[in-house]
Amino acid sequence: MQNSVLEVAGAEKAFGSTTVLSGVDLAVENGEFISLLGPSGCGKTTLLRIVAGLLSADRGTVKLSGADITGLPTHMRGVGVVFQNYALFPHLTVAQNVAFGLKAQQISAGDIRATVAKYLDLVQLTSMADRPIRGLSGGQQQRVAVARALAVSPKLLLLDEPFSALDRKLRELMQIELKRILREVGITTVLVTHDQEEALVMSDRIAVMNKGAIEQFAAPGLIYQKPASRFVLDFVGHSTRIAGTTAKTTDGLLAIETAFGTLHAQSGYIPGSPVTVAIRPERISMSMAQETPPSVNVLSARLTDIIFQGSKYHLLFENQGDSHLLVEAGRIPEGMAVGANVHLHWSLEDTLVFPGAQE
């Protein structure tokens, strides 16, 4: 299958005795927008630099549209990069920045002018064409960087934490704006970020990285709802976790003994293994009724705290002074106040089980 624009196979990299990448495989389809998501030091930026040719891997290959580019210098790769600090050329104007890569190729002055005009229009900076870089706002600088990278028609675009220098409001605006621009151009894109919201908002697929390896590579919904590991669960979104020990499986239902009583999950574990049950806090329903709700997973707990977060509430529950349970709700059910005893329940599909006790 020759549909992959980018194919990384067995990429390894160490700086001295520190392993930064330990055998990473990654394939990105044509026109896809993917994110490399992970904490600092997980190797995501190293992987980006290896793809761009700014760093050479100790082992492994990089293929672009099927061609092996592992040994190719950066300027012969056709991989565009928008750098974290944008790396705009301070001695040139906006239009000259966009024209820089075009001038390095044998392109006629007329064609360069037309291309520069086209991409300045795309990022809505036509009126700023002759301005110096100095004095541009963060958002404008980012758009110049995007136009400059796209102007040379790269096969692949890499974005290295491009929103980290922008304040929150502008960041959200630019994420949508950039998504529009990239969809219009139809370019395959890899975004490197430590910001899960950014990755969830922008990506077709997310590769969650930890300690130099990809833990899970899947669509944002799947990453969130079915995290493949404890790390992915912890890194992306909040979760309520309950430690337990597996018991017998009957009719495909795995029983797990916890401090809150018996809970049920789908997956098969050997009886007697320590596990952690995790539930996304907004998947938990609350009920004040006397009778127990008809659900496979129900526990009762006392509400200890309500934290207002603007668009939503975080509610903290406890059971006999035991571990705090987090529930997220759009509004507080009528009559519910701190100290109330509440039934918490959730479906079988929302019950995630990971090996090993909590923390």
Binding site: A52, H75, N85, A87, F100, P154
Partner: protein, 277 residues
């Protein structure tokens, strides 16, 4: 910031200003005055006399040519050095900086005498060129223009390296990466990115070395001798040997204005660049 702040800050330069007026500005005024005021009052006769002599044009030419060659050698050697210095880190960088700055503490005379030894017929340079087969027979480099330029370039090199380094170290290294990702090959990046960004440092380095080289006296005296006159050696000759103060003042003034013209041209070039960007 209040409007008065710059004025107050300027006061900090007052001691230097007073000092320079007393030890530099006043003597220079006296010197320039002497070249225009003779026994018969104000006249430009010394200048007309000086410039109507073909030999003196040769002297001016020698001065500028030697200075230009010295600047060129310093630039060719100094730019890569400054680049290496800006790329290096920690201990290596400290060692390099010491190696560049420490020689400044050795007197010019000591260095010039050392170069006399180096440039002799049996000196290191001649032996090396003989051993590598570039030369068939030993030649004297001392008392040649090549020897003078080599020696002068060595002594002025730090004044080229340091201004270029100070500019290079401020350049964001990711600019080079960005240019490479845009498909620009190394040579293109050098001429369209590295050089323009380093221009202000190169211009100041060149103007400092050029000014120093036009006014050097000890180095040509020891490395090339009286056969090759420059404006400074001629000035010294006029004052010390010929006891002709008027001639000495005239050559000194010509040298001064040549140097000022070069420094101002440089400043203008730098400012024009800054306005552009």
């Amino acid at each position: 910031m209040s409007d008065r702040t710059p004025d107050r800050v300027a006061l900090l330069a007052l001691p230097a200003l007073v000092y320079m007026v007393i030890v530099f500005a006043i003597p220079v005024m006296v010197l320039i005055g002497r070249s225009f005021f003779g026994p018969s009052g104000l006249s430009v006769t010394p200048y007309i006399d000086f410039l109507s002599d073909g030999f003196n044009w040769r002297v001016i030419f020698n001065t500028l040519r030697t200075a230009a060659l010295t600047t060129l050698v310093c630039l060719v050697i100094g730019y890569p050095t400054a680049l290496a210095l800006s790329w290096s880190k920690g201990f290596v960088q400290a060692i390099m900086l010491v190696a560049i700055i420490l020689p400044l503490s050795v007197g010019v005379i000591v260095k010039a005498f050392a170069w006399q030894i180096v440039l002799r017929r049996d000196g290191i340079v001649a032996s090396l060129l003989m051993a590598t087969g570039v030369w068939d027979e030993p030649k004297l480099l001392l008392f040649t223009e090549t020897g003078l330029v080599l020696g002068a370039a060595n002594i002025f090199l730090p004044f080229m390296i340091l201004p270029i380094y100070s500019v290079l170290k401020l350049i964001d290294p990711s600019l080079q990466h960005a240019a490479a990702t845009l498909g620009a090959p190394p040579v293109y990046r050098f001429f369209r990115l590295s050089l323009p960004l380093a221009a202000s440092g190169i211009i100041s380095g060149c103007s400092i070395v050029f000014s120093l080289a036009t006014s050097m006296y000890v180095i040509p005296s020891l490395l090339i001798g009286d056969r090759y006159q420059t404006l400074p050696t001629l000035t010294a000759r006029a004052f010390l040997l010929m006891r002709n103060e008027r001639l000495g003042s005239t050559t000194a003034t010509i040298l001064l204005f040549l140097t000022i013209a070069i420094v101002m041209l440089t400043a203008w070039l730098v400012r024009r660049r800054e306005v552009q960007t």
